[in-house]
Every structure is written in structure tokens, then in C-alpha cells.
């Protein structure tokens, strides 16, 4: 099951560039939360702070607190442990090209030391079913490489890979921006299904997508969280003029 995320006084820098400023936010468990805002506003940096990926950049720095469930991810756990609990899906599908579909999905588990074949088979099947890909690939699991799938299938395979390690939170950074409308709609349906089991945070430039899949939406601008509210409120009657100007396309 998913857990809630509590962000307090979060600040992030790339070198001297103060990219996130004083972010306070409660992301509810088992909901999809969308983050919107113009390019460079800090939304991708923000999600990368939720699984400690931001700090993989040598010039990056973070202060403040991020609690996922009852764990402060910067105090109570290692980055490796956090990335197991917080899965991530990127804009472009990133299959391991030389691995089969099966090995792509099982890779995270194998890295964590799983070797029980029967158990691995079960988890790979469950993850592919959860990512709505099983029926399309079940006959070619070990025959075909992950890179041989279509872009939309590759993205769902990457979601299966993220799900295989049984995370509580799933971060998605523009997961459908490189996909055609049919594949996009499959990913959106999937998000809708998955949020009963995981807490989902999705960064998107597609506001209709945010409106379709998320219950909560946050608007970022210049490294600050300008407004966070129910998606319905944000897209029909936002409180802040800057949010309204952005979503109506008056700037950005």
C-alpha cells in the first residue's frame, strides 16, 4: 500500500542556483498527485528530491525534510533503500537493451539479491499484469529483448520494473510525453488503476492529463509551490492569478 509524503521546508540547489525554495507539501497516500509548471520551474527537481536522486549530481544540495510514511528519507535510510521504496519512471523509456523482457522486469530484484526462480517468475508476472503488459508479452518474455517493444510497451515495462521491487511510492516524470495518444491513454488508465495500491506523483506538461489522472495538483513557478489544491479546483477556479494565467496559457 502507498504511504503519504510530508515535505517540510525543502530547499534545493544546483551549484549556486536555488532551484527549490521553501516547499511545504502533503502528498496524500494512495492518490495520484500531479505537478505542473513551466519548464525550469523546479517540478522535476522536486520529484528527484523525493527519492534522493537529486543528490547524485555532485553540485546539487538539499535541505529540509521529506518524510515518506514514518521515515525521514534524508535521516533514517540510505539512498538505495529509499529508491526501493520509491520507484521512478522517466520521460523516455529506458530499457536495458541487451536484456530480455523478463530480465528487464526482474533486474531490480536481482540487484537486491533475489534468486528464487519461482518467486521471481511470480513477481515478474504480477508486475507485468499490474502494468497492463502481460497479455502482450507473456509468450516472448525471455525470447525478446526489452528494446524490441514499442515505445508505449517499453514504458509499461519500465513501470513493471519499478513495481517489481514493491515500492510504496511511484514517481513519474512526464511518463507519456514521448508516446502516441493510444499509448498515452494506456499509461493514464494504468495510473488510475495503480493509485489504489501506490502513492503516485506525476510531473506533466499536459494539463489535460493532470486533470484526467490526478486528484491533487500542485503548480510550481520559479522554484516555489504557488498553489496546491484539488485538481478540480486548480483547473476550474484556481485561487492564485499566476496559476490561472499558466493553465489558461497566458504565459509559460
Amino acid at each position: 500500500m502507498g504511504v503519504g509524503i510530508e515535505v517540510t521546508n525543502l530547499n534545493a540547489w544546483y551549484g549556486t542556483n536555488h532551484t527549490l525554495q521553501d516547499i511545504q507539501l502533503h502528498i496524500p497516500a494512495n492518490h495520484a498527485t500531479a505537478l505542473i509548471g513551466p519548464s525550469g520551474c523546479g517540478k522535476s527537481t522536486f520529484v528527484r528530491c523525493l527519492n534522493r536522486m537529486h543528490e547524485t549530481n555532485p553540485i546539487a544540495r538539499v535541505t529540509g525534510s521529506v518524510r515518506i510514511g514514518d521515515i525521514d528519507i534524508y535521516q533514517d535510510a540510505s539512498p538505495v533503500e529509499i529508491r526501493r521504496r520509491v520507484g521512478m519512471v522517466f520521460q523516455r523509456p529506458n530499457p536495458f537493451p541487451t536484456m530480455s523482457i523478463y530480465d528487464n522486469v526482474a533486474s531490480g530484484l536481482k540487484l537486491n539479491g533475489y534468486s528464487n526462480k519461482k518467486h521471481l517468475d511470480e513477481i515478474v508476472e504480477r508486475s507485468l499484469r499490474n502494468s497492463a503488459l502481460w497479455d502482450e508479452v507473456k509468450d516472448d518474455l525471455k525470447k525478446k529483448s526489452g528494446a524490441s517493444l514499442s515505445g508505449g510497451q517499453q514504458q509499461r515495462m519500465c513501470i513493471a520494473r519499478a513495481l517489481a521491487v514493491d515500492p510504496e511510492v511511484l514517481l513519474m516524470d512526464e511518463p507519456a510525453s514521448a508516446l502516441d495518444p493510444v499509448s498515452t491513454s494506456k499509461i493514464e488508465d494504468l495510473i488510475f488503476e495503480l493509485k489504489s495500491q501506490y502513492t503516485i506523483v506525476i510531473v506533466t506538461h499536459n494539463m489535460q492529463q493532470a486533470a484526467r489522472v490526478a486528484e491533487k495538483t500542485g503548480f510550481f513557478l520559479n522554484g516555489r509551490m504557488v498553489e496546491f489544491d484539488s485538481t478540480h479546483k486548480i483547473f476550474t477556479n484556481p485561487s492564485d492569478k499566476r496559476t490561472e494565467d499558466y493553465i489558461t496559457g497566458r504565459f509559460g
Binding site: M207, T248, G249
Partner: protein, 232 residues
């Protein structure tokens, strides 16, 4: 400022609706005038404007539909387009009410004139004023003017109820005046509908400007109170 083309399309849509509003307002004023002076030539003008109103209704709906499909409007733009679609429909019905009144004027032609205890000119003036104010609220995007229209509707409703009472009495006491009384009642009913459409327009303006849905507020609150009492 971006989306210049979209903004221009929104301005065009507003302009089209204002043309429609002008036609509807003129139709109701002409119908009232036709009733007052019993002039069938004015009724012809009302009938002709109804065709133009119907054509405008279709044109505005199409333009609004195109914007919804092509531009995926959000927030205040989305509320504006939804308000336009609904106001468009209300204006078309104001046109229908004008035609209905002008039909009554034609019927009156074959009847003897009668002094009836009902102040139709006053009711007409109130209803026409509500239409004018609600459209002013739309032109200015002014929720306060719109709010003031809502409070005017009760007076028209009360006049309609009073007309119903007095005309029923006339029909009971003076059966030879029944056709005239019935005709007057139908005119009152049309005017009451015009006032209702003006109220709807004002509510849509408030929705557009403030994002607040004020429709049926009193009845919903009353129902909630009753439900709360029953639960106690």
C-alpha cells in the same frame, strides 16, 4: 501575453453573444410594445427577429464547440465558454417568450378590449429591466450587477402569483371576460419566464466571473437544513 489567436476567438464569441443579446432584448421590448398598443405590425417584427435569434443560437453554439474542441480551455476561459453556451440558450428562450407574447397580441385582436386588474406594463418593465441588467453584467463581467438581478426575480414571481389570483377571480365572477383574463395570464407567464431567463443569465455571469455556482442556493440550503433536522 500568449494565445493571442485564442483570446481573439473568445472576444469574437463574446461579440456574437452580444449581437444575440441585442436581438433578444429588442424582441421582448417589441413584444411588450405590441401588447401595449395592440399593433400587429410589431408582432411581425418579433416573428422575424425570432428567425435571426435561432440562427445566431446555432452559430454561437458551433463557435463555442469549436473552441472547446480545438483549444481545450481551462479555468476562467472554460467557465466563460460554458456561460456563453448557457446564456445563448436562455436568450433563445427569451426570443421564444417574445414570440409567445406577440401570439397573444394576435389572439387579442378578435377580443373586445377589457380593463383587467393586472399591471402587465409594470411586470413587463421589471422583466425587461432584469434582462438589460443581466446583459450589462455580462458585458462588464460584473458579479455585483449580476447579484442584484437575482434579488429582482422575487418581485416578478410575486406579480405573476398575484395575476394568477386576480385573473382566476375575474374568470369566476365574469365569465365573459375569461378569454381576455386567460390571455393576460399567459402573457404574465411569458414575462415570468423572461425574468427566470434573466436570472439564469445573471447566475451564469457569477459562475464565469467568480467560479461560484449560486443556482438553487436557497432550495438546496433549505433541503440540507430539513435533512439535518430529520437526522437529529
Amino acid at each position: 501575453m500568449t494565445r493571442i489567436r485564442f483570446q481573439r476567438s473568445l472576444d469574437d464569441l463574446k461579440e456574437k453573444l452580444l449581437v444575440m443579446a441585442g436581438l433578444a432584448e429588442q424582441a421582448i421590448q417589441r413584444a411588450i410594445e405590441a401588447y401595449r398598443v395592440r399593433d400587429l405590425s410589431i408582432c411581425d417584427l418579433v416573428n422575424r427577429s425570432e428567425v435571426a435569434i435561432n440562427r445566431m443560437e446555432r452559430e454561437i453554439d458551433q463557435a463555442a464547440l469549436d473552441l472547446l474542441a480545438m483549444e481545450q480551455p481551462m479555468a476562467i476561459d472554460l467557465r466563460f465558454i460554458l456561460a456563453v453556451i448557457k446564456i445563448n440558450s436562455d436568450l433563445e428562450r427569451v426570443g421564444d417568450a417574445a414570440k409567445s407574447i406577440s401570439n397573444r397580441v394576435r389572439t387579442m385582436e378578435s377580443m373586445a378590449q377589457a380593463e383587467l386588474p393586472v399591471d402587465i406594463p409594470r411586470m413587463a418593465s421589471l422583466a425587461a429591466n432584469m434582462v438589460r441588467k443581466s446583459l450589462q453584467a455580462f458585458i462588464d463581467g460584473d458579479a455585483e450587477i449580476a447579484q442584484s438581478v437575482l434579488s429582482m426575480d422575487d418581485a416578478v414571481d410575486a406579480m405573476n402569483r398575484a395575476a394568477h389570483r386576480t385573473m382566476t377571480e375575474v374568470m369566476a365572477n365574469d365569465s365573459h371576460l375569461a378569454p381576455q383574463a386567460l390571455n393576460a395570464l399567459m402573457v404574465c407567464r411569458s414575462l415570468e419566464r423572461v425574468a427566470d431567463h434573466a436570472t439564469n443569465i445573471a447566475e451564469d455571469v457569477i459562475f464565469w466571473v467568480k467560479g461560484a455556482d449560486v443556482r438553487h442556493k436557497a432550495s438546496i440550503e433549505a433541503a440540507a437544513k430539513t435533512a439535518a433536522k430529520l437526522q437529529q
